[in-house]
Amino acid sequence: MTNFFNSMPATPEINKPPMLPSWRAWYGLVLAALAAEIALFVWLSRYFVT
């Protein structure tokens, strides 16, 4: 099996994304947003039913 992060070609252009310090930070942002959305949906499901 190939390691996901090792599969990235190591060019400077790829290692330095705009706006955030690293690609890992970008991926973390997307996944954290998803987690926050699911938490909000769980809250909405429960809050408006009672």
């Binding site: 099996m1 190939t2 996901f4 992060f5 599969s7 990235m8 070609p9 060019t11 252009e13 790829i14 994304p17 705009p18 690609w23 970008w26 991926y27 942002l29 997307v30 996944l31 947003a33 998803l34 959305e37 699911i38 949906f41 769980v42 909405l44 499901s45 809050y47 408006f48 039913v49």
Partner: protein
């Protein structure tokens, strides 16, 4: 529609077609320019194009209707999407960009062989060719409802316009046009949501509407209960939805072509991640419009069916007396429903818990009675038109737009639906033309040298062919249960196998072409057989198909290795 609506609609469509034609002028005869827009798209262009390609007219018409009838549980289908965006950004984008491929399937030849590449491209062409037809049917549904046109004539007319626009414009024109279309779609969603709340009775606010929707089970956003036969729960979204998104965005040329047109790995990745951030909130907004429609029709008279052409057909038949009787019963039930909903809001505002429980029970009772009347209506529809779809969820949103929105805005919203349909159908046809020429024509042609102009011409003609096939398939779409589900079911039957081939290519380096090819053939046949014989929810086929290809390919490769070793042993002795 008023004259102002027609003016807005015609003006918007003329602008879209004219804009596409204007961009085509710059596409030229270079294959790179025509198929990938010269690989010059920035991240936001890539992201908006990805969103526009997925968010077709079907999304705008079907999804609010789905929330109206079934609540918001469909949102869970998209939970796997952001994860898929991250995985594709890490694994697939650098490989596709490094190889400078035109299609995802080109990579499979360098990794395996021509046969596996052709198989994957063939499966894509089959499912995308058919599902593109469904995308054409959705706007035809709108026009037939508005104008009373024959659906067949509408599908053919609209198909001809979309084919003409797509063939004349290359990927760049499609991408640039989509940017404006997404902006209009977002505006349309916000306006529709605002007006729905605005049109509620004065004493019913947004929070009250949400409470009523919650009490009626429409805010079923997350369900952690595991059930194999339940299409939409947290687990199907995080597994089946993830694998469907991996297949769709990682291996479906209609999406891969969007980020292959990016300037660089960075631009393509950011476009995908933008989609990962936007998609779930966007779908939430569209579903919320459907839930607000449900609350709106608790206080306003709703028709027995939102499918007006079908209503008129039943009323012209021998079943008209029974239909009128049902309609009268439905009107009475609606009066009781309105009273119960008003009482529920009032008791909620007063904090009167016992009163809320009583009003809630009354509202649920009237809902059940209304559902019984609608079921009887569907029985009448089945008798009048046995082959027709008795469900009317795809008509719910557009019926509201036509009946309640002010002049001018109706035309704008219809134009939004049509332009969204055009953008997604254009991307689909664009990718079908690209795959046909790059993966089926170029590798098998006997011509020693194919100039770009010749390949672009072949791509254009194959796009015409796929468009005509899509129109033909769209004519059967009226009999599908729900448009968006039909598209997703169709995709899931093929995506698992295609994703499996790519997963083997990326992660199982020891597996060769022969093993993966036969693993894919066996898996595809087994998937179609399982769909026919079992009740497994369709999202599971994505994950089951993918793992089946990976396991079968690994097993076949090990058997082949053992056989090779056995054959070599006597020679070495």
């Amino acid at each position: 529609m008023s004259a102002l609506d027609w003016a807005v609609l015609t003006g918007a469509l003329t602008f879209i077609i004219g804009y596409g034609a204007w961009r085509t002028r710059r596409a030229g005869s270079s294959l790179d320019g025509y198929l990938l827009g010269g690989r010059q798209t920035r991240w936001w262009g890539v992201g908006l194009s990805i969103i526009a390609t997925q968010a077709s007219a079907i999304t705008f018409l079907s999804t609010p209707g789905q929330a109206y009838a079934d609540g918001m549980r469909f949102i869970q289908f998209y939970f796997g999407l952001p994860i898929a965006m991250v995985l594709i950004s890490i694994v697939a984008v650098p490989i596709y960009q490094r190889l400078q491929v035109f299609t995802a399937y080109e990579y499979l030849q360098s990794r395996f062989d021509k046969r596996t590449r052709t198989l994957a491209a063939g499966l894509f062409l089959l499912q995308r060719g058919l599902s593109n037809g469904l995308s054409l049917y959705a706007p035809a549904l709108v026009l037939s409802a508005i104008l009373g046109w024959n659906t067949t004539v509408t599908v053919c007319l609209l198909g001809a316009v979309i084919i003409g626009y797509t063939v004349s414009g290359g990927t760049r024109a499609v991408t640039v046009t989509q940017q404006g279309q997404v902006a209009v779609i977002f505006c349309g969603m916000v306006v529709a949501g605002y007006l729905l709340v605005h049109y509620l009775p004065r004493e019913v606010g947004f929070s009250d509407a949400m409470h009523v929707a919650g009490r009626m089970g429409k805010l079923n956003l997350v369900d952690f209960h595991f059930d194999w036969e339940n299409r939409y729960n947290f687990w199907t979204g995080m597994t089946g939805g993830l694998f469907l998104a991996l297949s769709y965005f990682g291996t479906d040329q209609s999406q891969v072509q969007r980020y292959l047109s990016g300037q660089s790995v960075t631009q393509s990745r950011l476009g995908l991640l933008m989609n990962g951030l936007v998609k779930v909130p966007m779908q939430f907004g569209i579903l919320l419009v459907g839930v607000l429609l449900f609350v709106f029709y608790l206080f306003q008279p709703a028709p027995l069916t939102f499918n007006r052409p079908m209503y008129e057909r039943v009323m012209r038949s021998d079943m008209a007396p029974q239909a009128r009787q049902l309609e009268q019963q439905y009107t009475l039930i609606q009066d009781a429903q309105r009273e119960a909903a008003t009482a529920l809001v009032a008791t909620h505002q007063q904090g009167n818990t016992p009163g809320q429980a009583a009003a809630n029970l009354r509202l649920q009772t009237t809902q059940a009675a209304a559902a019984g009347i609608r079921a009887s209506w569907k029985g009448l529809v089945q008798q009048v038109a046995p082959a027709a779809d008795s469900k009317d969820t795809d008509y719910v949103f557009i019926s509201f737009v036509l009946r309640y929105l002010p002049r001018g805005l109706v035309g704008l919203l219809v134009a939004v639906v049509l332009s969204a349909a055009m953008s997604s159908a254009a991307s689909g046809l664009n990718s079908l033309g690209s795959t046909t020429v790059i993966d089926l024509y170029r590798p098998f042609t006997r011509r020693l040298h194919c100039p770009d102009a010749h390949l672009v011409a072949v791509s254009r003609w194959s796009t015409v062919g796929w468009g005509v096939l899509g129109v033909g398939f769209a004519l059967f779409a009226a009999q599908m249960e729900n448009l968006i589900q039909a598209v997703n079911i169709l995709g899931s039957l093929f995506y698992g196998t295609i994703l499996g081939i790519f997963a083997v290519a990326f992660f199982q380096k020891r597996v060769h072409g022969r093993a993966v090819f036969w693993a894919a053939v066996v898996t595809q046949l087994a998937t179609l057989l399982a769909f026919w014989l079992t009740d497994i929810a369709y999202l599971w086929y994505n994950i089951l198909g993918c793992f089946a290809v990976m396991l079968l390919a690994e097993g076949a490769q090990r058997l082949a290795n053992r056989r090779e070793i056995r054959l070599q042993q006597p020679a070495s002795l």
